[in-house]
């Protein structure tokens, strides 16, 4: 099982990387944003597996986005790698600090506290003139180690590949994490915190670690999204943004790393199509999709694939 899914993933990655930039501009842009947001969803999958559903990931997303926007605007540094790394570090630091509190809570209180924190940032951003308050501000195009690609296809393609590169690295690292003790105990944590404590693991510290990982991923996602959209505004920290990420996580299911990327892409695509075909009712469409998923496919669309795999496994096991 392990090598097979990794090799399929690698193949898909290569195909997308090669074919991607030859698709129409709107699709590349959409995919770039989708794959940036996918990092946030990846973080959410990690937390979801531990039984936690935060409603405030937008906090780290916005921090990542505003960090790169501000660096670009005020410091004269435009290197994308430098900016994203700084964004990641800031998001990680924030996640560490907020995690000190959040790790002690579960379920609804956890969701509400994380919501409150993201709204605090929203409140600050909206009221701060220098940060553009409700309008936000424009994000200048970055440079890649000094190279400033021409606007248009070149820059779009390079940004797309950059986001894919980050995605690939994240996918790999998170897959490894899921195979580690800490990562694979997510289900165990939901089941039986007592036993884990008795085995010598501090569940709170494990949750804290997961929060930091998820927050960092969200920060990187926000930073990349800021470049993709070329704009930052306080809505990136609003509760509806967090809600959107949770939405995608439910749709995609927490079964696999690939679910984050496929799910995020499908979501952006659906949103875009719905916006065009059914203006004024796209929220209804998405709401209905969410509802149907929760009621009939509680493990998300990814579970359709997993179910297939489990059935095959069961058949093979019975035959032994």
């Amino acid at each position: 099982m392990i090598p097979r899914s990794l090799s399929i993933g690698a193949l898909a990655f290569i195909v997308v990387a090669i074919a991607g930039p030859f698709f129409p501009a709107w699709l590349i842009s959409l995919a770039t944003v989708a794959f940036a947001n996918a990092l946030v969803v990846l973080g959410l999958i990690i937390l979801w597996r531990s039984g936690l559903v935060p409603f405030g990931q937008a906090l780290y997303y916005a921090i990542g986005a505003y960090t790169v926007a501000l660096i670009g605007r005020y410091s004269g540094v435009h290197d994308i790698f430098f900016m994203v790394v700084v964004a990641a570090l800031l998001a990680a630091l924030t996640a560490y600090l907020t995690g000190l509190l959040l790790a002690r809570y579960r379920e609804i209180f956890f969701a509400m506290l994380s919501l409150a924190m993201s709204m605090i940032l929203y409140g600050i951003l909206v009221k701060t003139e220098t940060l553009g308050s409700t309008d936000g501000f424009h994000v200048e195009a970055p440079r890649w180690l000094g190279y400033a690609p021409a606007a248009g296809w070149m820059r779009r393609a390079i940004l797309f590949w950059t986001v894919l590169a980050f995605d690939g690295a994240a996918a790999l690292l998170v897959s490894l994490y899921f195979r580690s003790i800490a990562g694979s105990l997510a289900a165990a944590m939901r089941d039986n915190e007592i036993r884990l404590e008795f085995l010598g693991i501090s569940v709170n510290r494990l949750i804290h670690l997961n929060l930091v990982i998820a927050g960092t991923l969200a920060g990187i996602g926000g930073a990349l999204a800021a470049f993709a959209v070329e704009h930052v505004d306080p809505d990136m920290s609003y509760w509806t943004t967090s809600g959107g990420f949770v939405f995608v996580t439910v749709l995609a299911g927490s079964g696999s790393v690939a679910a984050a990327f496929a799910g995020s892409f499908v979501f952006e695509l659906l949103k875009s199509i719905a916006y065009d075909l059914l203006p004024g009712t796209w929220q209804m469409f998405l709401g209905a999709a969410l509802l149907l998923t929760i009621l009939f496919l509680p493990e998300g669309l990814g579970s359709l694939l997993l179910r297939h795999r489990r059935t095959l496994k069961a058949i093979r096991a019975a035959g032994r």
């Binding site: 490894l176 994490y177 195979r179 580690s180 003790i181 800490a182 990562g183 694979s184 105990l185 289900a187 165990a188 939901r190 089941d191 039986n192 007592i194 036993r195 404590e197 008795f198 085995l199 010598g200 693991i201 501090s202 510290r205 494990l206 670690l209 096991a317």
Partner: protein, 260 residues
């Protein structure tokens, strides 16, 4: 030979309620001690003080030569004392094998958070050790079943197997045969005791079933009203009329015990 566990003048009071007092016990290594007493007599308090879940109000506890009085439970686990629960604490949504892997891997990783994040769960050494543990406790045939679907006896064995994954030197068993049918009790205890002996683990077990105590304990500690009222050979202690009056009742051998 140095004692593995020494409790001196141990006392625990909750406000004005004294749950345990004047406990003086010295346990040599590899001795199997049965702890009996009615509910509320202080047995669980005693066990919790050893595992670090309760801080003694007075007195001291030494593990081998080290003073462990009042240490946090996670530290005591790391030092080599573990507990197996009356209600088996397993991970219902994982398979038996993964349950065992988790326990083994955590024990091998040593407890640092980063160590657990960086060590793969299914490392080859872990897999081998987990497999061996399942064999030792005779539950290897259940390895692919989800823990939630296990019969009670197998759950208990899994719980104990997980508790000893880190090769502790002292194991505390809280009512190992509670909830197990009479026919299966002896079978279960046979497997458990031989496994623990093979691993050279000293055992203290709390039990209400006197037949089990008589058969498997080298020594009996009888608790009553927070104090130890008898400490010695199982047969003698259980024949003692005072113990029979306060704790165990008159001796009636069950059919299964007679057969065993």
């Amino acid at each position: 030979m140095n004692a593995i566990l020494t409790a001196r003048d141990l006392e625990k009071a909750f406000g004005s309620l004294v749950a345990a007092r004047d406990i003086n016990v010295v346990v040599p290594p590899l001795q199997t001690v049965g702890i009996i007493g009615a509910n509320g007599a202080g047995k669980t308090t005693f066990v919790n003080m050893i595992t670090g879940h309760l801080r003694p109000s007075k007195g001291s506890i030494h593990f081998e030569d080290r003073d462990i009085t009042g240490l946090p439970s996670r530290m005591i686990t790391r030092l080599g004392i573990t507990l197996s629960f009356q209600v088996a604490q397993i991970f219902p949504s994982l398979t038996v094998f993964d349950n065992m892997c988790a326990a083994t891997a955590i024990a091998r990783a040593g407890g640092g958070l980063l160590a657990t994040a960086l060590t793969p769960l299914h490392a080859p050494d872990t897999l081998a050790e987990a497999e061996a543990a399942l064999e030792l406790f005779r539950i290897a045939q259940y390895r692919n079943l989800l823990a939630a679907t296990l019969p009670q006896g197998v759950r208990k064995l899994l719980d104990i197997a997980m508790a000893v994954a880190g090769s502790p030197r002292l194991l505390l068993l809280d009512e190992p045969t509670s909830g197990i049918s009479i026919e299966e009790k002896f079978g279960l205890m046979d497997v458990v005791m031989s496994a623990l002996k093979a691993r050279r683990i000293t055992v203290l077990f709390v039990e209400h079933d006197m037949d089990i105590v008589e058969r498997y304990a080298d020594r009996v500690l009888a608790f009553y009203d927070g104090a130890v009222i008898a400490d010695g050979d199982p047969v003698e202690t259980l024949e003692n009329p005072r113990i029979q009056e306060l704790i165990s009742g008159p001796k009636l051998k069950t059919e299964a015990a007679r057969r065993a």
